[in-house]
Symmetry: D3
Subunit: 251 residues, 6 copies
């Protein structure tokens, strides 16, 4: 069927188990015409938990975007942060690139006057608060709350323990005025239901939500504006880059 569309969801963590969790969420509610593929990052740390991790995971993500641009209609960067691959990706290719952080925060705004992000370790609190300010939603956000989980705990701890820690963070969010919870980690995909039931409020799954927003763009033929911040890369000399990335600069 001519209108079939393909989305590639890229896991920036070099962690195939998390990619399986992501895949399940990504496909759970897609349009029947959409084919969703997933990809695990080929270089970088096992989990992304800060600025250093983010930048080291980026070059290989950009390689995938450049190599696969012709094969997909949109790309999702599945790290819940203001990840540099999102902005660099919007710049280097023509097809839509969206991050799960920006898109799930935006979607949360449709469900209540204020949302909170429930995230993993404490370090993410200042990082995501800064991220919320970057995307301009500081007046809609009732705070970022760490559950105390490490990213990798999501796979290692028991489901009960994980849910209890998320619930406790969710309760603190409600006290601060949150009406909606946005799950703040790609690895939390699939955990929204229990939280919703216990807190009696909508819980946004970042992976499933971002796939739906990617569809909102591609079925309308919308893509990144190339006249401002995300203008295409201009040809220049380079040193020491991989062939794929150096090629981008050849023009």
């Amino acid at each position: 069927m001519g209108t079939e569309k393909k989305i590639l969801v890229i896991n920036p963590n070099t962690n195939a188990e998390m990619t399986r969790t992501i895949a399940a969420a990504a496909q759970s509610c897609a349009d029947p015409r959409t084919k969703v593929d997933v990809w695990t990052n080929a270089a970088g740390p096992l989990s992304i938990e800060g600025f250093f991790d983010e930048v080291l995971s980026t070059p290989s993500l950009l390689e995938i975007l450049v190599r696969e641009e012709a094969n997909y209609d949109a790309f999702v960067i599945a790290c819940f942060s203001a990840h540099p691959a999102v902005t660099a990706g919007k710049e280097v290719i023509q097809k839509p690139v969206i991050g799960i952080f920006e898109s799930s925060c935006l979607l949360s705004c449709l469900l209540g006057s204020k949302f909170s992000i429930v995230t993993t370790s404490a370090r993410w609190e200042p990082l995501l608060e800064e991220g919320v300010r970057q995307i301009g939603l500081e007046s809609r956000c009732a705070g970022v709350l760490s559950s105390g989980l490490a990213v990798l705990d999501l796979e290692e701890k028991s489901l009960e323990e994980v849910e209890a820690m998320l619930l406790s963070a969710g309760e603190r969010a409600v006290e601060r005025g949150a009406e909606v919870i946005c799950l703040g980690c790609a690895g939390m995909a699939g955990l929204s239901e229990k939280l919703e039931e216990r807190l009696h409020l909508p819980v946004v799954d970042p992976i499933a939500s971002t796939v739906k927003l990617a569809e909102a763009l591609i079925y309308q033929n919308l893509s990144t504006s190339k006249i401002g911040a995300y203008r295409s890369v201009e040809p220049r000399g380079t040193v020491g880059l991989s062939p794929t990335l150096a090629d981008v600069y050849r023009g």
Copy 2:
């Protein structure tokens, strides 16, 4: 098929011709599983062009929401403004209610660092600037620009004239730093293509975009949070309301 979902798009203008324009856009890129119906408001002015028009169009819109809640999975209020039927609607029913203003501004954020709204008459500039602040996106918006068109001009003037006026407003938006244009009137549905071509930037159609965002919610089973601003109406005495609306207060 069990997963079929139904969306009702309500035109707050008492203007059936505009509803036809809206219908075409609403259905243009929906999920094949989605059935989109449209409805023209039964009471109020022919076009909505300010605060007074908005509030007079609201009681009959709320009647529709209350009466049709059981028949649809989501409701779209097709007036590009911080229309009071959106907030009152989120409060009075359990199913998702979304306005085309909030949702298309949010979607525009995925396409560039700043968007502008191109709207009809000059009065909308202060109203929509205030609206943008209400939804918290003031730092992402490069301004609201009136095209000088009246809402009804969209049907009365020639297509060439309308497009020329939109283009001129769009050019001013680009000068102010807009990377994305959001069409700021339900009656502009279907006009994005020409503008996109001429300005070389993405132009967001508010009707089509909102239908896609409504789908993003309903295929994920997400709806308005009922624990804060949009708690359900509590039983109370009333005077002089229509039977349908008075009934809401009976509990």
Copy 3:
């Protein structure tokens, strides 16, 4: 005496007992040249406690404004919220229309570096916080605090109980940095004194304050600007409106 001025204070709640409370506060400190009348809304719920109540109380309020414009110098909308009758009223008539929410918050700013609003039920917290942002005073407001009272409790509970609940909310406000308390409900008129005494800070009565601000406008011959957001209504067709309101569109 030629300079006598008349102000109509309209209670949007369809609740004559509350109107009597309002009347007492409204007349308590007016200029001797000012005649203050009060009016109880003819349609809508007994008390206004959310978005839905607000919009349903509005058409009949607008009718009063239109019919009585010639007989008064200014109109006060006595609901402590960003009530849609305030903006629509500013648009539809030439005489000043002011709401008790905006005016008493503005006056509170003259009395300290930060004010807090002490209101009735918890739902008002997100609504009034959004309202404070709309009028632009978010940096002057140390928070909106629910006393846990329902609007109708103000007449049904004992004075001691009401005062104790307000006092407890007031104490929480002081902990958050409030230097001034603004009473956040028309029905709280007359309750400022005891609170002032116990908290040792100024407590602003929204009704009395708004009458004084209405006087500030009318004795200076100032009224709403008609060149921007509140331009007069332009003639158009309408469907299903009351004769008085339909008449506004006849031009």
Copy 4:
């Protein structure tokens, strides 16, 4: 009559001619029960046109407040700026002290969605923009516009010339979205009418407006909160202060 109230309007400029202009505006629309006196500052520059002028005009203003506290119900500081005598005055006495800048900006908010300040020389633009931010009204202000007049020009240039320069600044304000003009200099008192007529919008006279707001406070028995920023001065040793001011520190 027991309810008579007295307001002292203090001109911080050491310029008796300007005091006469101020007196006329101050008394023009007061409550018949209010007695308004005026006072010319005893020390400082002939006109206040910047930070240096402000602080040098302050000690003698504070002496007046301290000496006259018992004789008046409220004090108005008639310099259109974030003048340090306003904050220090609120601290040092118990009676209300209000500045014409803060109060007339707040009143302007009741008349339209955005106001602009039309001021004298260009230096006031950054100072008053900073002042607007200090009082928290940056989102309500469409800019501060210099008319190019020096403060003393208001008395030396012909009325026609002065009005023409104000009109030109007012027109630029309207282009920027102002719906209301606030006259940004005490010496402009009495000039609002012509501007109003020509620009078809409300023009706020800062002196007359502030007297009305002072009345709003005193007829409600409201005064500055003494629990936060404006707590009373605590006893301490001093060096080199005038006897009146040194006395304040004796406790």
Copy 5:
């Protein structure tokens, strides 16, 4: 050596003991080419603890700036507040004038995503929060926390007691998200080390930091812009000023 530079650090408190503390910090880490002198204010209260104190301490500070301009390359106003002598000083002389509040807050931003100010008495909380907003750093500040100390306690209480009170305020700051502590009083100079050790975060000494920033300006030959807010004083008549200050107006 031709490149030697001289900085005068002026203590606005009329308190020679505090000046000694300031002197030690000021010289502790200066460039070997810099000569730092200190000066105790000749008029005003023994300690600066609010708006009233600030303005009374200002005329004599401005006299020093005017008289000593030729002898120094930069001037530091050693009061941790938005002290009016800083803005008036920038206006009245050509050489750089910087306050310890603005400069140490700016430097704190280089050390973490959020800083907090630990100050003396509770009154400073609203004043410094307003000050942080004035310098534009509200999004970088995790709050101003009073230690409960009076300014003069810094010299009168035992070092242990002072450190314990600072530590307790610092711990509350960390709970609120502070990553850096900025000591909020000139008299706290020299107390950073113990706090740093106990809280495991950088603690900024406002005196030492400001001397380094003054050096950053003078060794680059940078000084206050004279084209906007800080334009030079224009000649005018004056009444009752000291000869030195009246002279400034002679042009």
Copy 6:
């Protein structure tokens, strides 16, 4: 001499000619006890002109920081942007890492009420405006102005042409209210003087300024807070990283 300190200024552009310009500025006004070394990035594009360039230049910059941490007291990242190597660098090492963008904007605040950034190509306008918001200085910035120069033009065009283009951008900045110009490109080091002379305002050289701020930190023994956003990297598995970077994760 024991107190000698060493700063490494790293040019993220793989462009040795620009490093020479940077070196001259960096050493021009350092403390005599400071030794400043420079380093040219070993991988990435010849010039940094957007998000994609930034992230590709980062891994090799981080390698330098990690390898050289023991040999220097502070590190300067000489790209005028919110470069990801600055935040990742603050995280990965203990010694201070500062970027020329954040530090020169902060220093500019000491010189006037508003500064503007004069930068190279138009793409930098949205990027640096977002950057200014990230560092929290949006209320102090009168805009980012492109001179129309490409980064490499700074070395290829004649000095006259470069200065004329900067001057023209500077004049537009002054019209927008800038009182201070901050040169927005590492390659503009050394160009401040002519601009200062022609525009009669202070022009901040980002390289020289950042070296002075680095000194402000190191001579006070201040470094990045490690308790929040910049906590040290925790041990984890990695894939495909260089030995130096993989080593960081070994703990």
